[in-house]
């Protein structure tokens, strides 16, 4: 029997929402890791029972948690209690150490700070976890300060892919208001060597050799807040989405502007079209229609809430430019929540489900591709991320 499992990260814990394929009645479990910030929770495509969670706090730093039973129980990999002579074999699961070896990363000591001066790279937290399509033990982590890490042992140990920070533009990267985070990781199922990532505020980057070497892919982006609006790096990319059958086509929600590329990022063009505002954070693609795209327009960079107090998802069935508001079941007055960059996802049931979470603690679901919406939960802590597993 088919069903869905919605993985929700919030400011004060993780929640797991499950339903059968009808998606009408939901069970809610949580909070898992109560009191901790959960930036991201994501399941392995290769083993749906394997789920990774990024758990962090201002007091205690970063912890990684792993479940092998679909989120019922969790453990910190490498964190088994050890008493006795072997006890010095300490756990490593939450250790993210930048590569500072001579051969790779040693020159990568600073990036640009808000005031334009150089600032040391300092690890803060994991923003995004991206499990491998084929191996449940392999998972990528996008972290703040921006870097890409990979684990091949189920998150027990992590190693940086230093070619990203080391390819040459690293000293020009700078933090956005939320920090200098690597927030988007896209793995191409059909081309294992290809990885896309995005950083705020640096831009998008592509590797075609499994993360060894990287190139910026920001041609066509224009950011008016930059001294040179078309500069190679420095753009505040908020999120990027790809349909698995169209690996050369990417959709981007930038700080301002919704963008599209059809050549793997070599050139971008704006597809904001008739959106009422093209500022926003989330963007996603329909599971079965590669030209159907969703965004949630936000008023402006200074006012992070919907226009006119109306929460509206906009859908384009033409790959951008022509957008329609989706409002049925969403609040159309006095709504001043935000939808953060990793807080939208789709399922792959026959009738595509679309889900998003808000900073007001609501998680909304549509089981008909956005035509009608209903809240699954209304009163969670502020939602940081939403991911969906389609269970068959």
């Amino acid at each position: 029997m088919s069903g869905v499992r919605v993985l929700v990260g919030t400011r004060k814990g993780a929640f797991i929402l499950t339903a059968d394929g009808k998606r009408g009645k939901w069970d809610v479990s949580g909070p898992h890791f109560a009191g901790w910030e959960i930036y991201h929770v994501k399941g392995s495509p290769a083993d749906p029972n394997r789920i990774y969670a990024s758990q962090s706090s201002g007091w205690f730093g970063q912890v990684l948690q792993v479940s092998d039973d679909g989120g019922k129980t969790w453990n910190a990999p490498g964190g088994d209690i050890k008493i006795g002579p072997e006890a010095m074999q300490a756990g490593k699961s939450n250790k993210f150490a930048y590569d500072t070896s001579e051969a790779t990363g040693k020159p990568l000591t600073t990036h640009q700070w808000y005031d334009g001066t150089q600032h040391p790279w300092e690890f803060k937290r994991v923003w995004h976890l991206e499990p491998s399509h084929t191996d449940p033990e392999t998972v990528y982590a996008g972290v703040e300060d921006a870097a890409l890490f990979r684990s091949t042992d189920g998150a027990k140990s992590w190693h940086e892919l230093p070619g990203l920070r080391g390819h040459g533009t690293g000293p020009k990267w700078q933090p956005g208001a939320g920090g200098m985070c690597l927030h988007t990781i896209i793995l191409d199922r059909g081309n294992p060597g290809r990885i896309y990532i995005a950083i705020s505020a640096a831009g998008a980057f592509r590797s075609d050799d499994s993360g060894k070497t990287w190139k910026p892919i920001n041609k066509g982006l224009k950011s008016q807040f930059l001294p040179d609006p078309t500069v190679e790096v420095g753009h505040c990319v908020h999120h990027v989405a790809m349909h698995p059958t169209r690996p050369n086509t990417l959709f981007m929600q930038k700080h301002w502007d919704v963008m599209r590329t059809d050549n793997a990022g070599d050139e971008w063009r704006e597809v904001s079209g008739n959106l009422p505002t093209d500022f926003g954070f989330v963007i996603d693609v329909h599971a079965h229609e590669p030209e159907t795209v969703y965004v949630v327009p936000i008023k402006s960079d200074g006012e992070h809430f919907p226009l006119e107090g109306k929460l509206r998802v906009y859908r384009s069935r033409t790959g951008g430019n022509e957008w329609e508001p989706l409002t049925k079941g969403l609040p159309q007055r006095d709504c001043f929540v935000n939808v953060l960059r990793d807080a939208m996802a789709v399922d792959s049931l026959d009738s595509c489900g679309v889900y998003f979470g808000t900073t007001g603690g609501q998680v909304y679901a549509s089981s008909d591709a956005g035509d009608n919406w209903a809240p699954i939960v209304r009163d969670l802590p502020p939602v940081l991320s939403v991911e969906v597993q389609t269970l068959r």
Binding site: G58, W59, F60, I81, N94, K95
Partner: protein, 100 residues
């Protein structure tokens, strides 16, 4: 061999799956570094949560207390009071107060 009592903040007790005080055994000098080394060895999931993985610097929102004195800014290898070494008093790891 010294039996050291350690009081963890509630979130770290949950993470370590313990309740109340924990105890670690030490040989040699009883110092902050020795206690934290033993604690992380016994409860590896606490690695990185009290002090930085790489620099071993205390996390800024945590403080260390021994016998009602703040030891947060003392050297990591400074001997702690005899009462800590004897297990008469616990070594306290305290989180900053949250809220506004």
């Amino acid at each position: 061999m010294n039996q050291i009592r350690v009081v963890l903040p509630p979130h770290l007790r949950t993470l370590a799956r313990v309740s109340g005080e924990v105890q670690v055994r030490l040989e040699g000098n009883v110092t902050q570094r020795a206690i934290l080394d033993a604690l992380e060895s016994q409860y590896p999931m606490l690695c990185g949560t009290i002090r930085d993985h790489v620099t071993h610097q205390r996390r800024p929102f945590l403080r260390f207390f021994a016998c009602a004195e703040d030891w947060s800014h003392e050297g990591a290898d400074a001997p702690l009071p005899d009462a800590i070494a004897a297990g008469a008093e616990p070594f306290l790891i305290v989180g900053a107060i949250a809220g506004g």
